[in-house]
């Protein structure tokens, strides 16, 4: 393994259970800030946070931006469209250019695995991975664990199913790691074409059917990207929906339903499931700002809390 230092959040592997809990506790206190009329604390006043997004993103980019602003940081947001990246500038040159502004943190979203790790090698800033290819999306997993913890308390022994396109999902990978670190049992479920070979090496179980979905305490549904149909990963969205769509008939009373968004209504989730009181989808979005505030705070202003697992 490459050595990772504690001032970055690149992978859930950078955190042990204690480090995750520390961030979640911090997020609880920031959630309180978000309830105030003036939603701002001066923790990062005078410091700069750069958001560098090479992929389309709504909720991740906006929640990082809001999180940094609520901590009083100066925020620069760069999207690949319309920037020098569009003119063929390499990631390294872009990062070194932005580093000249002496940012305290660079938040990066990239379509390529390992991009955040490379940025950490090229810039003195703290680097936060906002999604790198199909590899990891650690802040999504943290906000999911945060959301679940608020509902369930400790996750020890909780049985959590992740359903859908695991192969192409960074959310699934970070969640498998994070949920297991918090003591949960994880099962991944989806068409065999969309479950990575040897995924069990991550410590989870894998199954191609929803036959035992009733055993789950939490059903975490992944977005089914429509283009997968063209690559013959599934014969049709109709067949996918018949086999894997979570609706209120498949949802057992008491089960919690999660989804990282954006949802394809009528594909991986039925409308009635989305709107059911068992769905935590809105709470996940709401948690995004507080958890990302906590991550920024712990990396930039907090004690060396994340060092534990590094």
């Amino acid at each position: 393994m490459s050595v990772r230092v504690s001032r970055h959040l690149i992978s859930i592997e950078d955190l042990d259970r204690h480090g995750i809990e520390r961030i979640l506790d911090r997020a609880e206190s920031f959630a309180e800030v978000s309830g105030r009329e003036i939603k701002k604390v001066p923790a990062l006043r005078g410091r700069t946070v750069v958001n560098l997004f090479y992929e389309a993103s709504t909720r991740t980019s906006s929640s990082f931006e809001l999180a940094a602003k609520r901590l009083s940081a100066d925020v620069v947001s760069i999207r690949s469209a319309g920037s020098a990246v569009d003119k063929g500038e390499s990631l390294k040159d872009t990062v070194q250019t932005l580093s000249a502004y002496d940012p305290a943190a660079i938040v990066i979203r990239s379509p390529h695995a390992g991009a955040a790790q490379l940025v950490a090698g090229w810039s003195p800033a703290s680097v936060i991975n906002a999604g790198d290819g199909k590899h990891e999306h650690p802040t999504q997993a943290l906000l999911d664990v945060y959301t679940l913890r608020r509902r369930l308390g400790a996750l020890d022994g909780a049985n959590i199913w992740i359903v859908g396109d695991v192969l192409h999902s960074r959310v699934a990978r970070s969640n498998i790691l994070a949920l297991q670190r918090m003591g949960a049992q994880v099962t991944v479920c989806g068409p065999p074409t969309l479950i990575p070979r040897e995924i069990e090496a991550l410590g989870c179980a894998a199954t191609p059917t929803l036959d035992r979905i009733h055993e789950a305490d939490v059903v975490y549904v992944l977005r089914m990207q429509l283009e997968r149909m063209h690559d013959s990963f599934v014969p049709s969205l109709r067949e996918y929906a018949v086999r894997y769509q979570i609706d209120t008939a498949r949802l057992r009373p008491g089960q919690l339903l999660m989804h990282p968004g954006p949802v394809n209504r009528g594909v991986e989730l039925s409308a009635d499931a989305i709107d059911s009181p068992q769905a935590l989808i809105g709470e996940q979005v709401k948690a995004g700002v507080a958890v990302r505030m906590a991550v920024l705070y712990e990396l930039l202003a907090g004690a060396p809390a994340l060092a534990a697992a590094a």
Binding site: M1, S2, S90, L91, K92, S110, H112, A113, G114, A115, Q117, L118, D132, G133, K134, H135, E136, H168, S169, R170, R173, P196, R197, E198, I199, A201, L202
Partner: protein, 459 residues
Amino acid sequence: MSMSTYARHDDRLFCRELPQADVLLRNAQVLDPRSAIDDPHDILIRDGQIAGLGPPNSLSAPGGDVETIDATGLHAFPAFVDPHVHLRTPGQEYKEDIATGTAAAAAGGFCAVIAMPNTDPIVDDAAILRSLVDTANRSAQVPTGFLAAITRGLGGQELTEMAELRDAGALGFTDDGKPVVSAGILRKALQYQHLCGGVIALHEEDPALSGDGVMHEGAVSARLGLAGIPSVSESTMIARDAALAGYERARVHFQHLSAIESVQALRAAKEAGINVSGEVTPHHLTLTDDIVRTLDSRFKMNPPLRSERDRHTLVQALRDGVIDCIATDHAPHARHEKEVPFEQASLGTTGLETAFSAIYTEVVLPGELELDVVIDRLTSGTALYGLPTPRIASGEPANICLVDLGARFEVGADGYVSRSENCCFHGRTLHGRVRLTIAAGSVAFKAAQLDHRGALSRS
């Protein structure tokens, strides 16, 4: 055009005019499995030929023009040969060229290399090959052979003018870097081989199975979310093409084997009496996909590093002789082509300067493979193309490397002889370092340490 214009011997190896050495290697631990030697010897080289071999300190330099090198404590091996390198001439000289690539070969103990045709332009035309031969005759530091493309532009659609390319000096043919996807086109190349000769070497991969893959498909690709290349992408094509070779009674060589299933397919083909051979790289013998967890693009190559079981099977197959030889697949790339996220990085690692040391450190020292087997397999690659095999014996041309097995060094700490630095062993501490390479009778590489020893011994 008569071939003799370009091929100085019938051996189709080309290099600059080499000053023939007069050297006495004193008290070297000579290991040549083919000559059944594993003892200390003096080796006298006169005018580039091995003139005498005797017990330690028995030979003397018969004149002032013979340099004496004290080789006490050093091993003398027949110099290595590499049937698979990318020298990047023509067109990609910013990565490597014939001069720097063959200098890197010499620094790694190699006395002959065979260059692949996937350059820019591709070596798919006799005029291009002739200009390459001219360049090699001016600048190659060790004898260099060339494979030409099987299909024009490596496009997999039309055969090259194979007979004319043979006349211009091609040792054989390959579309290396790409598979010949069409069985029909490959079959015609195999038929045409009966006219023009030349080994047909195959990069085996089924693009439909490899897809967008960038690493071995397994637990590590599952963890990293990188698209995987399954082992069967390689092995199914080996099985297919071995069957074609058997049917056409053709001669086929399988390049850079990486997987258990490929070894099984090669073994089955050999047992069926088909005229096939295979090679394996130092990195596939020493590294596994586990190291790709670092997401360091130095570990991105095609075929990919596979599992520990695959690595172990490749080592055993090399020992058993199912795999015939070691080939580096030396693939230099500029820094900007590797300083990008893994999925975007160019494929390949340099290997000439570290081949012996890496295998010695990671496979011989742990006891997986005997040193004499490694020396045999590092010297057997050119014979597959009908070229002579380096031997340490009286009357043979001097192709010898001196290696200090006790030396330890950090790869890359002193830079590289190659123009590129994309070595998968970069930063690793390796044992065993080449100190001298005599290639085709000429001193092609001499380490500063050796001059120091020589000065000491003369004083």
